[in-house]
Structure formats: structure tokens, C-alpha cells
Amino acid sequence: MAASESRVARAHVARLEHVSGTGSYAGPGTLLLGKRRYEGGSEEPHDLVLPGNDLFADGTYVRGHGTHVRNGRLVSSQAGTVLTVNRLVTVRPFRSRYVPEVGDVVVGRVLQVAGKRWLVDINAVQEASLLLSAITLPLGEQRKRTYEDELNMRAFFAEGDPISAEVQEIRSDASIALHTRSNKFGALRNGVLLQVSPSLIARAKKHYVRLSLGVSAILGTNGYIWLSPHDLETAQNEDKTKKAGSRSDAPLSEERYITPLSVGPEAHLRVARARNAILLLNARSIPIDPVSISLVCEECARQGVDVKDMTRREVASRIADTVQTQLSAASHLAERPLRA
């Protein structure tokens, strides 16, 4: 053990400039005035606009996110790529906070239990609020919210609890309301929460996915992802983990302190693999969906990369490149962004 550590330790110290996250695009003299060079930038990104750039002169376009109108002209207010969905013009920034839309499936973390509502962090500009009236109470059906319910709100969700929910409405002052009125939403347990850039998670039909490698994941539209092991072997384990992974009904007070079933090391390893795969994709800003995740895992398996080495940069770049090529080969349905 000890010997291996020292090896590990020795192996993993590296000089930063070779591997630094910035080095790849801030190469020597890359950004000097005048000349423009992109390392590995295969195609010149023409569709990039900066705030204040004119998009369209005529008013025939509908202004969407990331744009504003300045004396009759449509002007970008974001640094990003221009997308036009037949009249609607939007500018999608590289990275931004999560911009919620009604109906999004999000994974969040309870920050605070306020009167009659929970404040939930969903990586948006504001904290979302989950009203007591917007959850399904233990005895499922629409019974009246009693004062008792209000008293032991912590029994349902306490501070720090990860939950999955749906965006119910977005009010005029941009405040967000969630609801968990469905048996697939509710508190999450026996798993890990990780955060990626929300722009990498597309709105899809299914956000509750079973990854091929025996991990069930909730890909929140807000860039929060919940991973929990889900065993293939024993049916008994199966439903228990399923119950744990995506609970049907809101938890009861005593249930919160049940010691979870002890998942075996290989289950942990599976989750770890999925986690690292997702983080790898995030680091290379490749869209995250079951396909890409499983691609990464297969690639790692093929190259015999150890789980804990997956996030090591050189490994990551090697794998990500191959995965990217495979993906771009696969996806032809990339609509050409419109030029400024």
C-alpha cells in the first residue's frame, strides 16, 4: 500500500504549464494584438458575438435571451453563439447560470427551511422556492396542509437535502417556484450530487436515466446531476436502490435516518466511474447525455484507464478527443448557427 502511494504521489506531480487548463488556449503569443492563432481550434468560430455587437438591422426578428434592442437594431448582450430558431434570435453564452424554464426537471439542494416553503439552490440566479403546498404529503393524496405539517417541514426536506423537482412557474420578478407533485420527484439519497455546466445538459424527454454501467442518474437541467448505484444482480437490491435512487413519495421523518443499505465496493466503483466520466465531459464541455457518458466509459475500458485516473488531464484529453470524434460523427443534426 505505502509503496504504491509513494509511486502514485511521485507520478502525479507535474509541471503546470504543460497541463494547465488555460494553457491550451492561452498558448505563447496566442493573444497578441493583430495576429490570431487558435491552438487546435479546428474551425474558426465565426458565430461568436460579444456584447454590443449588432445582430440584425431590421426589426423583423424577435428578440430572445441574450439580446437587446438599441435604436431599432437588435444587439447582442452576451458573449456567445447566435442561434436563430425561425424568427427568434438568441445568443447563448459559453457558460452562465441556469436559466429556468417551466417544466424543467432540476436537481437541487435545500438551503433553508422558511415559513411554509423551502429555499432550494438550483444554480440559478435566485434561490428557487418550494412551497409546502407544492409537495405531495406522505399520505399521497391532496389532503389539507395542516399546521402540524408546517411544524415538521424538516421531516420532509431538511437543510442540505438534495431533491429532484420540476419548475412550476417563473414569476415576474424572476423568482422561481418548484413542485414535487409527482412520485418521481422528492428527496434523493444514497448517492452523490455533482455539478456541471448547465449548458451541457439538453432538455430531453428523459432526465431519469439508467446508465449502462449499472448506475441510475438524474440529469438535472440545471447542471446538477444525481448519481446512485443500482444493482443488476439481486432483485431485492434492485428495488431497494431504485427506491433510494428515485423515490416515489416524499420521505417520512423517521425514514430519513435509516442507515442506507451498504452498497458493495464495486457499486461505489461504478458510481465513481460514471462521476468521473461526467466530469471529464464537463471539463471538455461535451454535451452530457447517456450516450456520451457510456462512450467515455467504454473508451476508458478499452484504453484500460483506472477509474481514479480518468480525471487526470492528459488521460482526459486523450479520451475526450476520441469521444468527440465519435460523437461528431454520430450527430449530424447540428443546426448551423446563424452568422452576425
Binding site: 504521489a9 509541471r15 494547465s20 439542494r109 439552490d121 428527496a187 444514497n190 461505489h268 466503483l269
Partner: protein, 430 residues
């Protein structure tokens, strides 16, 4: 507190002399605090300091001596000896202290680190179920990111990032990304800005640590953490003797009158959790010191009482000497989760931890500082020993490979005639 101090004081006579005879350096343990009836250590600090330094330290000089044992112990090169002697020392101290009972006053007060952690993590606390998951994973020997228990994450070093600084380095480690710049100034007492002749190495360095509101909503918490970080770094360097920072002139250019003042700026670009913060900062600090260039001085002494003039002759002034900081330590944080020891916890594992052991270890594998803090359940002395052992493995490995890299860097640095400001600077990529 009195009860705590009393026990050890008995020891001063017997072992002390022998240890001091053994080598000119004696070691003291300051404030071994928070030991409760279960005789578990709540928090302890080992600070090594030369006798000469500590003698001038005044009031603190008469603090407990019982780890004079440790002095012999910690200098022994062999890890097994370390563990034995350390265990002996600790248990001995515990026995002494146990004899004088009711030291458990401080129950409920948790170590500073834990407190900081709680404050820092309030924004994104970990739910009970998640903690269970983490713990079960660690029990199973697989951590959330796939590491095994004592694996550490990658460490990335870059030197010479601040052209205008005498020495600088930047380190990526875990979630932490820290930048350290060293500036050398000649300090003398005539300036009278409260500058005092440094008595320990730690006093020759003055830190300015900045953590822009990274840890929480308001940057006050950042300030608290910065405070703690500074205390620990200073403590580590207080433990070293002057030779740890070696160059032609001594740090004291003229005894008691002029000295080199190293002002060190630590800028935490991003961080999360505190374990990786200390380790990364220590690593960056060491790298920065190693890459520090000190201009060669010529002193023209006039009459005795006046301060000598400082000249730097053109040639040598242009090719300053490198500071030899090979002996400065690096730190590793280990923490105990559910009774199991893991190395280099990430931000979430920290939240599950019930004890922290931070070990500062130099290249010879000697413990230069040991910070233990735990929650109210305390921690077994044996696990401290185990931690030190594990830390020794990692740190020595680290130090060797870091030095490999730095040596290459610094070689080409040294034969650069022009000072490093000609580099592209921060984040330069050659």
C-alpha cells in the same frame, strides 16, 4: 488549562537534559489542549523550535516540555521509531494528564478547523444520506472519485509566474488553485515601522493571504480561513531553523540590525474546503521560496553605530543568487471518516470527517508541524501516529518529484542573465 499545564511540567528535568545533550535542538509542544476524560486528544500542535529561539520567546518558554521525548523521536529518520516514540510520548502525556482529571471543560468546543468548515460549508451542506453514502464508500475502500483511501490527487506546480516578484509559484491541487509571490526587502530597525529583528524563521516571513469571497457568500469567512491558514504556515516555519532558507548572506544581514524580510503574498484563486487549501498553499510557498532570487549585497560599514550602506555591484546584482529552500516542508492533510483514515480529502469528504490531522514534513521525513483537530469525539493517539506515517510516504514522494521539476526550471532560470521579468509572466507557457 492549569490542570493541563501542570502534568507535563513535571517532566522538564529528567528527559529534557538528555535530549538537549543529544543534539542542540530541543522540541516543545505548545498548548496540548482539549483532552477530555476519555483521554483522547481533541487538538494538539507540535511546534519545533530551536532552544535559542524559544528562549528569547519569553513567557511561552516555560510551556510544557514533555515532548522532549518527541525531540529525539521526531529526528529519528526511521518512521517506525517515529511512531513508537510518538505514541509513547502521547500516551505518557495522556497518563500525566489523566492523573489530573477534569480537563474536559472544553467539551462541545470543536477544533478551529471544524468550526471553519461548518461555516464554510453552510452554503452547501451535505445531507445525512449523502454522508452515509460517502462513509459507506470509504468503508468499502472506494472513495467517491474512485481513489483508494490513501491516494492523493494530482499536484501541479508552476514557478516564475510573477515577473516583478523575487520568486513566485502557482499550484493546482484538488479544488484549490493558489498563487504565491515572494518579495524580498531589507528590513532594519531604524525604520521604526514596528519592524523587529526576526527571531525565528517565521518572523522573517510576513504573510498576506487573500481569499476572495470564495468560501461563502460574504468574504468575512474568507478572512477567517485566511487567518487560520496564516497561523498554520507561520507555525510550520517557526519550527524550522535558519538554515532552512539558505543563501550566501544569512537572513540576518547584520546581526540585530539588518535582515532580509520576505513578504509573502498568497492569493487563493479558487478553493473549496480547507484541506487542499493548506496543502496547496504550503506547496506553492515552498516552490516560490525555492525560485526566489536574492540580490547579492555589498555592505559598506561606516562607523559602528550607523547602518552600513547597501551596494549591489552590477554583475552580481544582475545575476542574483537563488534561495536554497530545499529543507522547507510540505504538508498533507488527512482526515478520519468513520474511524478510517483517508489522505487528501476533497471538499465533501471534509464535511463527513470527524478529525483532521495535518502533517508538515520536510524532505528528510521529519515532522515540522502537526495540527490535529477533531469533533467532540476526539481521536485516538494511534491514528495520529498512523497519519504521520502515511503522510511521510506521500510528502517524501511529493518533495522528491517536485524538486525534480523545480530543479529543471531553476537551472534554466539561473543561467538567464536578465532578471525574470523578461518572461511572459503569469501563466506563461514556454
Amino acid at each position: 488549562m492549569f490542570a493541563i499545564l501542570q502534568g507535563p511540567c513535571v517532566l522538564r528535568g529528567e528527559v529534557g537534559s538528555r535530549a538537549v545533550l543529544r543534539r542542540s535542538m530541543c522540541i516543545r509542544v505548545f498548548n496540548l489542549v482539549w483532552i477530555h476524560r476519555a483521554r483522547h486528544i481533541r487538538q494538539c500542535r507540535l511546534l519545533l523550535r530551536t532552544t535559542s529561539a524559544s528562549a528569547r520567546r519569553g513567557p511561552r518558554a516555560d510551556l510544557p516540555h514533555y515532548l522532549l521525548h518527541a525531540s529525539t523521536i521526531l529526528h529519528a529518520a526511521d518512521a517506525s521509531i517515529i511512531s513508537d516514540r510518538l505514541r509513547f510520548a502521547l500516551t505518557f502525556a495522556l497518563g500525566k494528564l489523566g492523573a489530573t482529571s477534569d480537563c474536559g471543560r472544553a467539551k462541545g468546543r470543536s477544533g478551529g478547523m471544524i468550526a471553519e468548515l461548518l461555516r464554510a460549508s453552510e452554503a452547501q451542506g451535505l445531507s445525512a444520506s449523502e454522508q452515509d453514502y460517502y462513509v459507506s464508500g470509504i468503508r468499502a475502500g472506494v472513495r467517491v472519485d474512485g481513489r483508494s483511501l490513501l491516494d492523493v490527487r494530482d499536484l501541479m506546480v508552476e514557478t516564475g509566474v510573477l515577473p516583478s516578484a523575487a520568486g513566485s509559484a502557482r499550484v493546482h491541487f484538488g479544488e484549490t488553485d493558489v498563487l504565491v509571490g515572494v518579495h524580498t526587502v531589507i528590513g532594519d530597525e531604524t525604520e521604526g515601522q514596528g519592524h523587529r529583528v526576526p527571531r525565528t524563521l517565521g518572523e522573517a516571513l510576513n504573510f498576506q493571504i487573500q481569499i476572495p469571497g470564495a468560501l461563502s457568500r460574504d468574504s468575512r469567512d474568507g478572512a477567517n480561513v485566511a487567518m487560520m491558514l496564516q497561523q498554520r504556515l507561520e507555525a510550520v516555519f517557526n519550527a524550522l531553523d535558519e538554515k532552512a532558507l539558505h543563501f550566501e548572506q544569512r537572513i540576518l544581514v547584520q546581526p540585530n540590525r539588518m535582515w532580509w524580510q520576505f513578504s509573502i503574498q498568497v492569493l487563493v484563486l479558487r478553493t473549496r474546503g480547507l484541506a487542499s487549501l493548506l496543502d496547496a498553499s504550503a506547496a506553492a510557498l515552498r516552490a516560490a521560496l525555492r525560485s526566489t532570487q536574492v540580490p547579492r549585497l555589498h555592505l559598506l560599514p561606516e562607523d559602528e553605530d550607523a547602518l552600513p550602506k547597501i551596494l549591489l555591484d552590477e554583475k552580481s546584482g544582475m545575476s542574483p543568487q537563488l534561495l536554497d529552500a530545499k529543507l522547507t516542508p510540505m504538508t498533507l492533510t488527512l482526515c478520519q471518516v468513520g474511524g478510517i483514515l483517508i489522505a487528501d480529502p476533497d471538499a465533501f469528504e471534509e464535511l463527513c470527517a470527524d478529525a483532521f490531522i495535518q502533517v508538515a514534513m520536510d524532505k528528510a521525513g521529519r515532522v515540522c508541524g502537526l495540527f490535529v483537530s477533531s469533533n467532540e469525539h476526539g481521536i485516538e493517539p494511534t491514528s495520529i501516529v498512523a497519519a504521520v506515517k502515511a503522510a511521510r510516504e506521500v510528502c517524501v514522494g511529493w518533495l522528491e518529484s517536485v524538486d525534480l521539476i523545480l530543479d529543471e526550471d531553476l537551472k534554466e532560470l539561473e543561467n538567464l542573465f536578465v532578471p525574470r521579468s523578461s518572461h511572459t509572466g503569469f501563466l506563461h507557457t514556454r
